[in-house]
């Protein structure tokens, strides 16, 4: 068990190193003039000179990468020239709203996806299954911004049940969480359905049915418990899709998290913030995968042997 965990941990560290190589390359090697890119188009020659010195562009590449990595592990993600502040603290100050939204979105997607998947599995091949699976395809085929704006129009404008956007109370949280939840719920319902179908093939399910247990009890008591376990690990792998969705959803609802920060940086082409958010998101994904790897052997002990 310890060996397995150590291997997963080492793999995660290697991936993070790879992430830093990619972000270093994107920032300093691919752009023709990285200084102008980082300083912004309207920077003064003095600022550019300062950055050129700061980046040590006259030094050899390996040394520059080592310096970059050194700054990165200390949480130094560079400086935003549009906002005149360091990127690291800027992202850190925007994290709590995003984490709150993420938590609410996970609850929403499970509440939507799991019942839909269980229902579809129990009606397998029949009309109810087909309707549920077509709806799940529709939800994953809708861009986040279309879904968000539609919910906004319906529940905030036409019905006036919820605020048009902003941050501060539970009612502000509902629509952005529901937008992410509906989109993610589509995937969870498909995974839950196939997981449940797999479980319902087992002999112990046939035994439960044979002794006359009603079908809903078979599904909820014996089926759900076993079918749900693989889904838990999926939550950890979900972070990547979530990180993409949050940029759009926070913009639509005016939610002051890192997604909105990213959106503003895209509009002003603030490269240090764009790269900083991308780096932080990659760290989240690696962490999410690591957690999924840690949970996996608890669910299925055979995994430890690999």
């Amino acid at each position: 068990m310890l060996g397995y965990l150590a291997r997963r941990l080492a793999a995660s560290v290697l991936i993070l190193l790879g992430v830093s190589v990619v972000t270093f390359g994107l920032t300093y090697i691919i752009p023709a003039d990285p200084v102008a890119m980082i300083a912004g188009r309207n920077s003064t020659p003095a600022v550019r000179e300062q950055i050129r010195h700061q980046l040590g562009l006259d030094r050899p590449l390996p040394e520059r990468y080592a310096n970059y990595l050194g700054r990165l592990v200390q949480g130094d993600l560079g400086r935003s020239y549009a906002r005149k502040s360091d990127v690291g603290p800027l992202i850190a100050s925007r994290l709590p709203p995003t984490l709150l939204l993420m938590l609410a979105a996970i609850v929403a997607e499970l509440l939507i996806g799991l019942p839909a998947g269980i229902y579809a599995a129990s009606r397998r091949g029949r009309l109810g299954d087909k309707i549920a699976m077509t709806l799940s395809f529709a939800s994953v085929s809708t861009p986040h911004f279309v879904l968000g704006l539609t919910l906004l129009y319906l529940f905030a404008y036409l019905l006036s049940w919820l605020p048009l956007g902003g941050y501060g109370s539970f009612s502000h949280l509902i629509l952005p969480a529901l937008t992410l939840g509906l989109a993610g719920g589509g995937w969870y319902s498909r995974m839950m359905r196939s997981s449940m179908i797999e479980v319902l093939r087992n002999d112990y399910i046939r035994t439960a049915r044979a002794k006359g247990m009603p079908e809903w009890r078979v599904i909820l008591k014996h089926g759900l418990r076993n079918a749900f376990l693989p889904i838990i690990a999926m939550i950890g792998l979900d972070v990547g899709i979530f990180m993409s969705g949050v940029v759009v959803v926070e913009n639509v609802f005016g939610w002051p998290g890192i997604g909105q920060l990213m959106w503003q940086a895209i509009q002003s082409l603030d490269i240090p913030i764009i790269m900083g958010v991308t780096t932080v998101a990659a760290c989240f994904i690696v962490l999410g995968n690591l957690i999924a790897d840690m949970i996996a052997p608890l669910i299925d002990p055979r995994i430890r042997l690999r």
């Binding site: 992430v19 704006l149 196939s194 995968n289």
Partner: protein, 283 residues
């Protein structure tokens, strides 16, 4: 082949979706014929006296946008952008992904390990954020958007093809081919690739849906194709501030994105079932 078509035909939804795709493709190809107006023409009577966009009417079927341009014409030309990027960018991604997956799955060793560790690394980046970062660094434009989407979207298919190639490589007929002196290139192209074609077709179709959505999101964020080229995501971005007064400016292009992506997803799903009947309804 006929057998396959008969299985596919039983999935009514997939057949209808194929029809919808054909409709979108013809609309895109014949946009200059069907479009009542030039997509960038700003009509002096295209706005109300207060300067608001016009709702759908006999003259402007889908209304006008915030610049007084005909929304229906822009929608047709937007279909060109969506489909061109969807098909070309995804085609490149499939080519890269299937190629790398095939080589990694058969060659293994150092080369295979290096390729697969690289796909692991790519999986650590959220596709949209990586696409935004790339699009922000490179100059925006149609070719760059295609390149950016291809660069972030090949990972999924590479992993699927890798797993299938590993399984196929264990089979005896591959060992037999090797024993008869077939080289690596011949085994890859003549003995492995033909068995992977169904998988490639399924993932290529599903991938177009992903690509259409990614392109729409990029252009909604202002990092996709640049004006004056019409793109559905950008049409929504431009009218976002007028949205509550002129909801058709969001709902019509939004519905177009949804219908196109959904059709490709349903056709891909139908193809998967038709090509592998034993897997029917499992995922």
């Amino acid at each position: 082949m006929i057998d396959f078509w008969n299985r596919f035909r039983r999935d009514r939804l997939a057949v209808y979706s194929l029809g919808v795709i054909a409709l979108f493709v013809s609309a895109a190809i014949l946009a200059s014929t069907f479009a009542p107006y030039d997509p960038s023409e700003q009509f002096f009577d295209g706005l109300t006296l207060e300067g608001s966009p016009l709702p759908p009417s006999g003259r402007f079927w889908f209304g006008t946008d915030t610049n007084g341009r005909d929304q229906f014409s822009r929608l047709l030309y937007g279909a060109q952008t969506s489909l061109l990027i969807g098909i070309v960018a995804n085609g490149i991604a499939v080519f890269i992904g299937a190629g790398l997956g095939l080589v990694a799955g058969y060659v293994r060793g150092l080369v295979g390990a290096a390729i697969m560790r690289f796909t692991d690394l790519m999986m650590a980046f959220p596709p949209l954020l990586l696409a935004i970062a790339l699009a922000a660094i490179l100059k925006p434009g149609l070719n760059i958007v295609i390149l950016v989407i291809a660069l972030v979207n090949w990972v999924q298919i590479a992993r699927v093809i890798y797993a299938e190639t590993v399984a196929l490589s264990e089979r005896e007929y591959i060992e037999a081919a090797r024993a008869m002196g077939a080289g690596t290139g011949r085994i890859l192209l003549r003995h492995l690739l033909p068995h992977l074609v169904p998988t490639v077709i399924v993932y290529a179709t599903l991938g177009i849906a992903t690509t259409v959505l990614l392109e729409a999101t990029l252009s909604f964020l202002g990092r996709g194709v640049q004006p004056p080229t019409p793109a559905w995501g950008m049409m929504i971005f431009e009218s976002q501030s007028y949205f509550l007064n002129a909801p058709w400016l969001v709902f019509i292009p939004g519905a177009a994105i949804l219908i196109l992506a959904l059709s490709f997803n349903l056709v891909g799903d139908g193809l998967r079932d038709a090509l592998d009947p034993t897997q029917r309804g499992r995922s």
